[in-house]
């Protein structure tokens, strides 16, 4: 027992190792969801199948611009899911199951948890965006320039962030197995009310007036602008989404600090 008395120098963590911890966390987060068909399949299939049905097969009769409009709308619908579910549901479950407590007790670098989930959500959003773009280009033969494709892709990729923040806030408010159902009750109505399933012009006037309340409405406007159907005011939409993101994160952080 004599070796014990010698004090061991406090370990220092090199910057490279801290960075590696972030990479490992993101990798683990992506892997566990890639292997989880219960999350991955609905997230990928819903927007793709909806677009195939309403944007391609049934679109011809509704006008030539429909596949183009719905490319934006279902893209937005698609990228909302990994943020809301990847963040919201998993945070709600992990707060309940003790995993978050364990990670907080372990020396996981602060932020690695959230950045890991964000990376996963953006990865899934990338796949959805590419899926829909391929269908639009090769099945629906929507005419898109290279810069339009690139802009839409970037809009959808960054458009995940406000929904990650929203998922974070929801996940900090609820706990446990009820989370998926509750998030669906936010996700689906919000998609409908911001005109992702039917154009807003077909919906009652009060729903049209209410639409700017939803972050998905603003993301849809940006996606439409990206492919040449914009009505201007892009910076306004970007500003609203940024404000939503910051507000959700701040509220969630406050809540998590208080209640864990």
């Amino acid at each position: 027992m004599n070796a014990i008395a010698t004090p061991i120098a406090p370990p220092s963590m090199s910057r490279g190792r801290v960075f590696n911890a972030y990479v490992q966390e993101a990798k683990a987060e992506c892997l566990r969801y890639l292997r989880n068909p219960g999350f991955l399949l609905p997230t990928l299939l819903f927007p793709s199948v909806f677009y195939l049905m309403f944007g391609i097969f049934l679109a011809r009769s509704n006008g030539p611009e429909v596949p183009r409009i719905l490319l934006a709308a279902y893209g937005v619908f698609g990228v909302m899911a990994p943020g809301l579910f990847g963040f919201g549901v998993s945070l709600a479950l992990e707060r309940d199951s003790g995993l978050l407590t364990l990670k907080r007790a372990m020396p996981m670098p602060p932020g690695a948890y959230l950045i890991g989930k964000m990376t996963m959500a953006m990865g899934v959003a990338t796949v959805i965006s590419v899926f829909l773009l391929c269908m639009a280009l090769f099945l629906a033969h929507v005419q898109l320039s290279g810069s339009q494709i690139a802009t839409l892709f970037v809009v959808q990729l960054l458009g995940v962030l406000p929904f990650c923040a929203m998922g974070l806030l929801i996940g900090s408010l609820i706990k446990g197995q009820g989370a998926p159902g509750l998030i669906n009750m936010i996700y689906l109505p919000m998609a409908f009310l911001s005109g992702l399933w039917f154009p807003l012009s077909m919906l009652p006037a009060f729903i049209q007036r209410l639409a700017p309340v939803w972050p998905s409405y603003h993301l849809n406007q940006l996606a439409l602008s990206a492919i040449g159907l914009g009505q201007g005011g892009e910076w306004g939409h970007i500003g609203v989404l940024a404000i939503y993101t910051v507000a959700f994160v701040l509220l969630a952080a406050r809540r998590l600090r208080r209640y864990g």
Binding site: P11, R35, P107
Partner: protein, 307 residues
């Protein structure tokens, strides 16, 4: 009072959850190389004490330190390994991936294979966590706790759900870690676990330390047998007999604690020919523990006959 020889310390700590006082001015210190077992009934405050040392909660008053720092300071936690009582790990990750991820949090971790071998899960590295049995999952959690080469391990009920063989192996691994200079804070329900491993045992009840000392000292408190009988003898008289540690009347019956039950029984029978309902009970560590916590509870406890 702050003491530099402690690597983890609660100093006059109080923690409340609303009306409930979880810890009531508790003092607890852990020295380097020591294995400290925390015992106590559910709700006694063990988990809260551990949670404070891990930086999961903040104390309402008093001070909490881990390697001389605030436990919420990540630098302090880089020197600890943690195994919590209930943590559902991601079911779709493989054991090797879980260990690699955990090791990435630490400055100079053990090799994944080495950590797995120490916990006896080196044959499970390629298996998904969900495919493991409960005991195997506990061993994986143990491997995660030690993979960062910690100076201090927190083990919260580590052997729950393990069979006897797995428990013995885990004990061997814990002893090896302690022999290599690692300190351990262990909470357990199993008294034989504390008996097998701990240098020092701390019994917590109602947010306070009610007994602290070596396992031997705790056992010494229970070297006593308990004699129970119905008699007309006066407690004051019996208490004065040689070898009698304590004597009282409870629900009309006399209880005598003694280290020499044979002598006391002989004398009791001689002094009161009408004595009835004679029983001699052996107290194990479990009874000592019940006894210790009961003294604080003032709640009657059903006695167990010695087997």
């Amino acid at each position: 009072m702050h003491n530099d020889s402690y690597i983890a310390q609660l100093d006059g700590v109080t923690k409340r959850y609303g009306q409930l006082v979880a810890l009531d001015g508790i003092d607890l210190g852990l020295r380097r190389g020591e294995l400290l077992a925390l015992l106590g009934p559910n709700g006694a405050g063990k988990s809260t004490a551990i949670g404070l040392l891990l930086g999961l909660h903040r104390a309402d008053s008093g001070s909490v330190s881990l390697f001389g720092r605030d436990p919420q300071d990540i630098e302090a936690r880089r020197r600890i390994g943690v195994m919590l009582q209930s943590a559902a790990l991601p079911p779709t990750l493989k054991v090797g991936e879980l260990l690699k991820l955990t090791a990435s949090y630490y400055p100079s971790p053990r090799d994944t294979g080495e950590a797995a071998a120490m916990a006896g899960v080196d044959d499970l590295l390629g298996r998904r966590y969900a495919a493991l049995s409960g005991g195997q999952q506990r061993r994986v959690q143990f491997a995660m706790a030690l993979c960062g080469r910690p100076e201090l391990l927190f083990l919260d009920e580590p052997t729950v759900g393990m069979d006897i063989d797995a428990r013995q192996k885990l004990w061997t691994a814990i002893r090896q870690l302690v022999a290599d200079g690692c300190s351990v804070v262990l909470t357990t329900h199993y008294l034989e676990e504390a008996e097998a491993l701990a240098d020092r045992v701390c019994v917590i009840a109602h947010g306070k330390v009610i007994s602290e000392g070596s396992v031997d000292a705790l056992r010494a408190r229970v070297a006593y047998r308990r004699i129970r009988c119905t008699t007309s003898l006066d407690t004051g008289v019996v208490a004065a007999w040689p070898g009698v540690a304590e004597c009282h009347i409870e629900q009309g019956r006399m209880f005598v604690s003694t280290a020499q039950p044979e002598n006391v029984v002989r004398r009791l029978l001689a002094a009161d020919a009408a004595l009835t309902d004679l029983e001699v009970l052996r107290a194990g560590l479990a009874e000592a523990f019940t006894e210790l916590t009961r003294d604080n509870d003032d709640v009657p406890v059903v006695e167990k006959e010695a087997a």
